[in-house]
Amino acid sequence: MNRKDVATGAASGGITINLADKYRAVVGLMRRLASLRLTLILFALLACGIVIAYQLSEARTWPVVIPLLLLAANLVAAVATNAVFRRQTALLVFHLSLVALLILVAAGRLTYLTGHVGVTDGAIFDGTLIDAAHGPWHNGNLASVRFISKGFSIDYEPGLHRGPTRNQVAWLGTDGRWRDAEIGDQEALIIEGYRFYTTHNKGFAPVFTWKPDGGPTVQGSVQLPPFPMLQYSQAAEWTPPGATVSIWIMLDIDEVVLDAEDHTRFRLPKNYKLVARIGQERYEMQPGGSVRVGDGVLVFEGLRSWMGYKVFYDWTLPWLFSACALAVASLACHFWQKFSVRRWDE
């Protein structure tokens, strides 16, 4: 061996020792992180975090997320270093499905969307929501979702206890065809991953045609506050598209629409008048009636109902279900194996 070889050998030996040291250090760290004592502390920490998040509305996320992340690190380290998991496959699968669940929930939170929208019967939902919250990476295609509410029925028991809701809808598929469906209390309308749920929010909506001088005619509706929840304040303020003045509209109902004493069904009122106030002027309108508003004419076409929908998007749902199913099955399997060694009444 010449000098050069000796030098190289010494150098590579140094690297090997160095790597082995580092490896040992990492394994040592993992072992520490995998401590089951730590698991118990983190369980307690998570429980405290949940209580804090529950009490303080301004600290909803981190008190829960931090212990969950620590638990995940603790569990991953345990899976990597604890020999129990190599001997007991079912136990391993159970714990891995817990990690999978955590990852899926996190992915869901990053890409979810929730919101609300009211859709007047006969009008097309155009992809716009009244309010919405979504994860930073939400990239669904809500703008292209289209459906029409074709009317709904809700029965009430005496005391105005709401019964089942049945809502007929038509929705546009990706193939360009319209399809009919009936949705309701347990049955959402699902289009491109967006779920539309009927809610207890629904009410009446006067439909108007707005004819601006020299501009194109547009039709639209004004959704009045929910009925019967706010039955004594059926009024709303509205500005027709392109108009300069706003209109205050009130539905004055001259009959009992939902009799609290009896079995009844949600319906449009028959005896009513629509009061429109523009500036100091007050008008009473019947279907077909019109009124001049600034630089256009407003025609009241009639009354329809509107349904409020809750909108929800989370692509992880089927995966979450699969991870849950796997978790329970493997947990049951683990205990089955463990307990079948000795009888229960021994």
Partner: protein
């Protein structure tokens, strides 16, 4: 309604006589296990009849009012304990602690108003039965574990040592209690999953940390904590028994406390 309540009273009487007999025979060192089994079974039969009559009259099961929730849980807890009592003869002495625990619930039930509540449209789904049924199995399994844990703790405290002699040694009771908790964990997990599926269908969200969901999750954590502590630290039967009692208290508060104090529990009723 009168008949239902009379039959329920008869069931309560059967339970109370059975429970009293369990305590008295244990104290006197006698064994009347078949009679106790018969009385609990008789109470259960009568209570089933009472629940069935009310179900038929109202058109829905016992899931709405506090009276109904208590009644159906007394029923399921009694059923769970009856099965354990019947299938594992060596733990029958624990009836002397489990039945007095049940007396508290029976007393509460008799004080609750038996009036009817509104059955919300979101409850018209098989998930109602699945979700609630799974929860009942969980609570039943924990009740059996609690009975065994109480025996361990009483013996350690020097109370009724000779009376509880007929039961297996602490180590074996501890193992049985652990098995019950394991069953409890499986069913609690299933209950949470079924609840999440139902909540997604009915309210458009699978989890929203409402009071009941929050406390149910904390209960799940306490069960996980107990199982882990036992496996990893090989804790003494006494410490394990204490933890099981804590799980029971948390579960009890979740099942009966939260719906009772919070109007917002599971917003489903609107």
């Amino acid at each position: 309604m009168e008949t239902e309540l009379q039959i329920l009273w008869a069931a309560v009487v059967a339970y109370v006589v059975g429970g009293t007999l369990a305590v008295v025979t244990l104290v006197l060192g006698k064994r009347r296990e078949r009679t106790i089994l018969g009385l609990i079974a008789c109470g259960l039969g009568l209570q089933t009849l009472s629940i069935a009559l009310r179900w038929e009259r109202l058109g829905h099961g016992p899931f709405i009012t506090m009276f109904e929730i208590l009644c159906s849980n007394v029923w399921s807890l009694m059923l769970a304990y009856l099965i354990a009592y019947w299938r594992i003869p060596r733990i029958r002495g624990s009836a002397a602690v489990v039945m007095p625990l049940m007396f508290i619930m029976l007393g509460w039930l008799m004080l609750a108003h038996p009036g009817e509540g509104h059955f919300p449209p979101t409850y018209t789904t098989p998930w109602l039965f699945i979700h609630i049924g799974l929860g009942k199995v969980f609570l039943g399994a924990v009740l059996v574990a609690v009975g065994l844990s109480c025996v361990i703790l009483l013996r350690r405290a020097g109370i009724g040592v000779s009376r509880f002699q007929q039961l297996p040694p602490d180590r074996q009771l501890d193992e049985l209690a652990f098995r019950c908790m394991a069953i409890g964990l499986i069913f609690h997990t299933l209950m949470l999953i079924a609840g999440a599926i139902w909540a997604q269908d009915a309210w458009g969200r699978y989890w929203a940390w409402d009071p009941l969901e929050t406390w149910a999750f904390i209960t799940w954590l306490t069960v996980a904590f107990t199982l882990h502590a036992r496996v990893t630290f090989r804790v003494s039967p006494q410490a394990h028994a204490t933890m099981i009692l804590m799980v029971f208290v948390t579960a009890f508060l979740t099942f009966f406390g939260v719906p009772f104090i919070s109007q917002a529990a599971h917003q489903g009723a609107i």
